[in-house]
Symmetry: none
Subunit: 147 residues, 2 copies
């Protein structure tokens, strides 16, 4: 029931768990070969799963000797990112992605995750989008400050 992208995500996160500094380095082409897929599939996984919203950062370099480095954000980096994101407006997607990662880092339990998913969803507030986004941002800021 898992897509290739899901499996690759899972495998990479497993690797990240094993290392103590939260940094892994790999070659796009090797990973693609390992999973028998197109190299751009790796890029797809990185850009959809290993984004700052979810607590990761990716660095890379092209050319001979090129590499891809995946970095699990430190708590302070992540909080800085949160502060920047929570400026004034937050889409439902971004909000859900954030809560999911809050859960993964253990700041938020299962119950909290479920509740926030409900509260942040589009129809929960029943408001139009510019306003709903502002409220999401305000709510999440408040929640994070009180975790």
């Amino acid at each position: 029931m898992w897509s290739l992208a899901d499996e690759m995500e899972h495998w990479l996160k497993g690797l990240l768990e094993e290392v103590e500094d939260g940094v892994i380095e790999l070659r796009r082409s090797e990973l693609a070969h390992q999973f028998s897929c197109a190299p751009s599939q790796v890029t797809y996984v990185l850009t959809t799963r290993f984004v700052p919203e979810r607590g990761f950062r990716v660095e890379s370099r092209r050319g001979a000797g090129g590499y891809i480095r995946i970095i699990r954000l430190e708590d302070c980096d992540y909080r800085a990112y949160l502060a920047a994101q929570l400026g004034s407006h937050l889409s439902e997607r971004a909000a859900l992605s954030l809560t999911e990662h809050l859960n993964q880092t253990g700041l938020l339990g299962e119950e909290g995750l479920r509740l926030l998913e409900l509260v942040l969803s589009a129809d929960a507030l029943g408001l139009e989008e510019p306003l709903a986004g502002e409220i999401r941002a305000r709510l999440l800021r408040l929640v994070i400050a009180n975790l």
Copy 2:
């Protein structure tokens, strides 16, 4: 004398009885094929029979590796009763008192209690009172239905 929708509902509920965690996962197209019907028929069954008011929740994802997940909720009679008590408007006081009650009956854990207290508090939403009350009511109704 059962309709196709009834049979599918019954079959799915049978599956849900068999698993201990109350969660099943399936593919819409497979289920449709199994019952020799249009895929949208599955959607129809899910949206008419497996709704929170009847004690179920449905999650899904599109695209390759997509799925439909049906989750059995617990204590749905009592939750339905509570939801029925709710009007269209809820003061901060009433909302907090209700969450307190949810917590005492065990439907809501400590984490959930603290989160809801935050979210329902006056300044969390940052809205004027007629509107804030409506949103509180809508949020709590949603939360109760999905606990």
